[in-house]
C-alpha cells in the first residue's frame, strides 16, 4: 500500500481549484518533498465539476489518486464532496464548504449531502457559507479568493501538513507580488473561518 499523502481538491470550474493544488504542491516542494498533481483544465472548466489530485511522498508513480486512498478531501461545494467521496480513505478527513451551487440541469438536496458526510466521515469540518462570506468581507473581495480561504481553513484544522506560513511562502513563490497581499489575507481569514 502506498504511503503517499493524497489530497483531493474538488469543486466547480472557476473556483480556483487549480491554483489551490499548485499552492499545496509548491509548499511540499519547498519542504523537499516529491510531489505529483493532476488537474482539470480546458473544456471542463466552464462551470463543470473539476478536481485536482495532489500526491506527496517518495514512491508516487501515478498523478491520479487511486480511489479509497485520499487522506484529505477538500471540497468547495457539497455536491462535489459527495461526487468525490469514493476517493476518500476509510479514516480520511473532509473539509467542505456548505454553500451550494445547484447544477443548472437538476437540483440536489444539500441537507442529504451534508447528513451523509456527518454520518460517514469521522474527521469532518464544515465551513459555513456565513463564515465564508465573513472571511470574504474581511478581505474585501468576492469569490476569487475562496480557494485560499479553504486552504487556510484546512491548514488550521490540521488536515494539511502545511502551516499558514508555508502556504504564504508558496503564494509568494508562485504569484506576482501584486496578488500576495490579498491571497495571504485570505489564508488568514480561512484560519478564522475554521473556528467560526
Amino acid at each position: 500500500m502506498s504511503s503517499a499523502l493524497n489530497i483531493m481538491i474538488a469543486g466547480i470550474g472557476g473556483q480556483g481549484i487549480v491554483l489551490a493544488s499548485k499552492i499545496i504542491a509548491q509548499a511540499a516542494l519547498a519542504r523537499g518533498l516529491h510531489v505529483r498533481t493532476a488537474e482539470t483544465i480546458g473544456m471542463a472548466q466552464r462551470g463543470g465539476s473539476v478536481a485536482s489530485h495532489v500526491r506527496i511522498g517518495n514512491e508516487i508513480h501515478s498523478p491520479l489518486i487511486p480511489r479509497g486512498t485520499a487522506r484529505v478531501l477538500l471540497a468547495f461545494e457539497p455536491a462535489e464532496a459527495i461526487r468525490h467521496f469514493p476517493y476518500l480513505s476509510a479514516d480520511g478527513a473532509v473539509i467542505v464548504c456548505d454553500m451550494a451551487i445547484q447544477p443548472t440541469a437538476d437540483a440536489y438536496s444539500v441537507d442529504a449531502a451534508l447528513s451523509f458526510l456527518k454520518e460517514n466521515v469521522r474527521h469532518l469540518k464544515i465551513i459555513s457559507g456565513a463564515a465564508l462570506r465573513r472571511a470574504m468581507e474581511s478581505v474585501k473581495t468576492a469569490n476569487m479568493i475562496m480557494n485560499m480561504i479553504m486552504l487556510g481553513a484546512a491548514s488550521e484544522c490540521g488536515a494539511l501538513p502545511f502551516s499558514a506560513d508555508e502556504l504564504a511562502a508558496a503564494i509568494r513563490a508562485l504569484l506576482p507580488e501584486k496578488y500576495w497581499g490579498i491571497n495571504i489575507s485570505a489564508i488568514c481569514a480561512g484560519r478564522k473561518a475554521c473556528h467560526d
Binding site: V35, H61, S62, P63, I101
Partner: protein, 598 residues
C-alpha cells in the same frame, strides 16, 4: 534546480534549454500552456506566435528549420489533422535545424472530438515519436527530440497526453544548451519536393527508420526491468499506473517501458525472450500490442518457444479499447494478469453516497453566446443550427438546444451548405466563433458565395479564443507577444462578396432579434455579426431579482439555462457570486422583476 512544473511547462523549459529559436502553434487543450509558458520565460531569443491554424504553424516552423534554426510547433491531436498536409510531405524533404512537432493526445476524451492516437500518425508519416510518461520525462525528451531531429535531418513528433500535459511534478532542470546561431537558408534542390526526390528520399527514410529503431533500443527511456515468465509492456502515463499497481500489490514482474516510435525492436525481443505471456497497458489504440504481435510473427521462432508468447491487451479484450486508463483499471488488469486478488488499497466502502446530478460544463453566467443563441432561437425556431468548435458548442445544452451539428473546426459553415442542398426549403444557420472564423471558416464562406448557397452565417465574436483560456487571434489586435492591427471580420465578409451583413450587440436582446429577422427572408449568403466580449474578460454591475415583482413564472430559468439563475423558495434568484451582469434576464422577464443591483 528543482521546479514545480506542469508537463506543458516542462516542455516549454525543455525547448528553451535546447535552444529553440522559433515556436508557433494554435491553442488546443491539452497543449495550450506550452507556448504560453515559452512567452513568459524566454529572454527575447525566441520568436513566438499563435498562428491562425496548425497547418500554418507547422509550415512556419518548417521554414525556420530549413534555415537551420531549432523550431517547435504545438497543437492538440485534432490540430495535427489540420497540419497533416505539410506533415506528410515534410518528412520526405527533411529539415536542417531540429524540428519538434508537439501533438497532445487526449484519452477519454476529456476536451476533444476524437480519441485518435498520434502514434499512428508517426507510423503513417514515417516519423520518429517521443512519448513521455511524466512531466520529468517531457522535459528531458524535448531536448532529446531536438537532438534526434538534427541527427537524422528529419522532423520529430513529441506526443504528451493529458495526464502528462496537465500533471505537475518537481522537475530537475538542466543547464541550458549553448546552440550556435543558425546557418541560414542555403538554396538547394533538396527543398523542392518532386516525385523523383520523393522516391529517392523514401528509400533513405526507410533505412533511417531501421537505424532509429536500433538507436531507440539503446535509448535510456526505453528499458526492460525485472524477470520471470509474465511480462507487462506499457507506455505513456499507463507505465506510471502499472508501477503504482505493482507497488500496491506488492509484486514485481518483467516490465518493458516503450517511449518511442520507431518501435525498439531489439529491446522488445529481449523483453519477450523467456516470457509465456505479456500484458500490454496503453491508452488509445493497441500500438505497442500490434508491434509485439508483429515481432512474434516475424521473430517468434527465434525466441525458442514453439507456442510463442501470448500477447494480451486491447485486441484480446483484457484491457478497455476506448477511454482513459486509471490507477484502478490498470490495477485490476495487472492483478488479473498476475492471478492476484485486486489491490488491497481499494477497500469496499459500506456507505454509498447519495446520487448527485451531473455537472457538465456550461456557458458561463453572462456569456454573450447565450444571448446570441436566444435571439436566433426566438426569431427562427424551425431552422437547422450548425455549430462549430469552441465555447459555443456548449449551446447544445438545454434549454438553449441550439447546436444540431458539430464536426470539426470550420465545418459548421460547410455542413450547413450540404444540408441545404438536400433540403433547400429549410433555413440553415452556421454559427462560428471569431477564432474559428480565422482558423478555417473563411474558405467555407467563399465556397458558399461562389456556389450561391442560401445560408445564414452567425459569427459569435467574443474577441478571444475563449475555450482554451483566452488567447488572442487576428481579430483582437493582439499577438502572443505584442500587438498587431486587428483584422475586421465584417470587411473580410464584404470582400468575399457577402452582401447582406448585419451587426448586433447580442446583449441588446430586441436589437439582436431584429437583426435575425432582417436577414431571415433574404437569399444567398447572409451574415450576422454578434459582437460582445467574453464574460470572463469583463466585469459589470451584477443583477438582482425583486422578489415582490417576481411572479414565479420561471421564464428566466427555463429560457436561459444561466448558472447564476435558480428558483429559491418559489422565486427567481440570482447568485451574486456567479452573476456577470450581462442583463439578458432583465430583458426577458415579462414582469420587469430583474434589474441592475448595487
Amino acid at each position: 534546480m528543482k521546479k514545480l512544473l506542469m508537463g506543458n511547462e516542462a516542455i516549454a523549459y525543455g525547448a528553451l534549454h535546447a535552444g529553440v529559436r522559433v515556436a508557433a502553434g494554435y491553442p488546443g487543450t491539452p497543449s495550450t500552456e506550452i507556448l504560453e509558458t515559452l512567452a513568459k520565460i524566454h529572454d527575447g531569443s525566441v520568436y513566438l506566435e499563435w498562428s491562425v491554424n496548425e497547418k500554418s504553424a507547422l509550415e512556419i516552423a518548417a521554414g525556420a528549420a530549413y534555415a537551420g534554426a531549432r523550431a517547435m510547433v504545438t497543437m492538440k491531436q485534432v490540430g495535427l489533422n489540420v497540419a497533416s498536409d505539410p506533415l506528410m510531405s515534410l518528412n520526405y524533404v527533411g529539415v536542417k535545424g531540429g524540428l519538434v512537432i508537439v501533438a497532445a493526445d487526449d484519452p477519454g476524451p476529456i476536451s476533444s472530438q476524437t480519441e485518435q492516437d498520434t502514434r499512428h500518425f508517426a507510423q503513417f508519416a514515417k516519423m520518429a515519436l517521443f512519448d513521455p510518461s511524466t512531466p520529468e520525462e517531457a522535459y528531458a525528451m524535448t531536448a532529446d527530440a531536438f537532438a534526434f531531429s538534427e541527427k537524422y535531418g528529419q522532423p520529430v513528433l513529441l506526443r504528451p497526453a493529458t495526464r502528462v500535459c496537465h500533471s505537475r511534478a518537481d522537475v530537475e532542470l538542466a543547464a541550458p544548451l549553448r546552440v550556435s546561431a543558425p546557418e541560414g537558408f542555403v538554396k538547394d534542390p533538396r527543398w523542392v519536393i518532386f516525385p523523383r526526390l520523393t522516391f529517392a528520399n523514401h528509400i533513405r527514410l526507410e533505412q533511417k527508420l531501421v537505424e532509429m529503431s536500433e538507436e531507440f533500443s539503446r535509448y535510456p527511456k526505453n528499458y526492460v526491468t525485472g524477470g520471470g515468465t509474465l511480462g507487462i509492456a506499457a507506455g505513456g502515463v499507463s507505465y506510471a499506473y502499472v508501477n503504482e499497481a505493482l507497488q500496491n500489490l506488492g509484486v514485481s514482474c518483467k516490465l518493458l517501458k516503450v517511449s518511442s516510435y520507431p518501435f525498439p525492436r531489439d529491446l522488445a525481443l529481449a523483453f519477450l525472450d523467456g516470457l509465456e505471456e505479456a500484458l500490454v497497458i496503453e491508452e488509445l489504440d493497441p500500438v505497442i500490442e500490434m508491434e509485439l504481435l508483429r515481432l512474434m510473427g516475424s521473430a517468434g521462432q527465434s525466441l525458442g518457444r514453439s507456442s510463442g508468447v501470448k500477447i494480451k491487451g486491447k485486441l484480446t479484450g483484457h484491457t478497455a479499447n476506448a477511454g482513459e486508463n486509471s490507477p484502478e483499471s490498470v490495477s485490476a488488469a495487472v492483478a488479473s494478469f498476475l492471478k492476484l486478488n485486486a489491490a488491497p488499497s481499494q477497500p469496499e466502502r459500506l456507505a454509498r453516497p447519495p446520487d448527485v446530478p451531473a455537472r457538465p460544463p456550461i456557458l458561463c453566467a453572462g456569456c454573450p453566446h447565450r444571448a446570441s443563441f436566444l435571439a436566433v432561437k426566438e426569431a427562427a425556431d424551425n431552422a437547422v443550427f450548425c455549430g462549430d468548435i469552441g465555447c459555443y458548442t456548449l449551446g447544445n445544452a438545454k434549454p438553449l438546444d441550439m447546436v444540431d451539428t458539430c464536426l470539426c473546426m470550420g465545418a459548421g459553415i460547410t455542413v450547413a451548405q450540404g444540408l441545404h442542398r438536400v433540403e433547400p426549403h429549410k433555413t440553415h444557420f452556421a454559427f462560428i466563433g471569431d477564432s474559428t472564423f480565422f482558423h478555417s471558416g473563411i474558405p467555407g464562406i467563399i465556397n458558399a458565395v461562389y456556389n450561391q448557397t442560401d445560408i445564414i452565417v452567425a459569427v459569435l465574436d467574443n474577441a478571444t479564443t475563449a475555450m482554451t483560456g483566452g488567447q488572442p487571434h487576428p481579430g483582437t489586435g493582439k499577438t502572443l507577444t505584442g500587438s498587431s492591427p486587428p483584422i475586421d471580420i465584417g470587411k473580410i465578409l464584404e470582400a468575399i462578396g457577402v452582401t447582406d451583413i448585419v451587426r448586433a450587440d447580442p446583449l441588446d436582446h430586441a436589437a439582436a432579434k431584429a437583426a435575425v429577422t432582417k436577414v431571415l427572408p433574404l437569399t444567398g449568403v447572409r451574415a450576422i455579426l454578434f459582437a460582445s466580449p467574453c464574460a470572463a474578460k469583463i466585469k459589470k454591475p451584477i443583477y438582482a431579482v425583486d422578489a415582490e415583482k417576481c411572479r414565479s413564472c420561471e421564464i428566466c430559468v427555463a429560457k436561459l439555462g444561466c448558472p447564476a439563475l435558480t428558483m429559491q423558495n418559489g422565486k427567481a434568484d440570482i447568485q451574486r457570486a456567479l452573476c456577470a451582469g450581462c442583463g439578458l434576464c432583465g430583458q426577458i422577464c415579462p414582469f420587469h422583476a430583474i434589474g441592475g443591483a448595487l
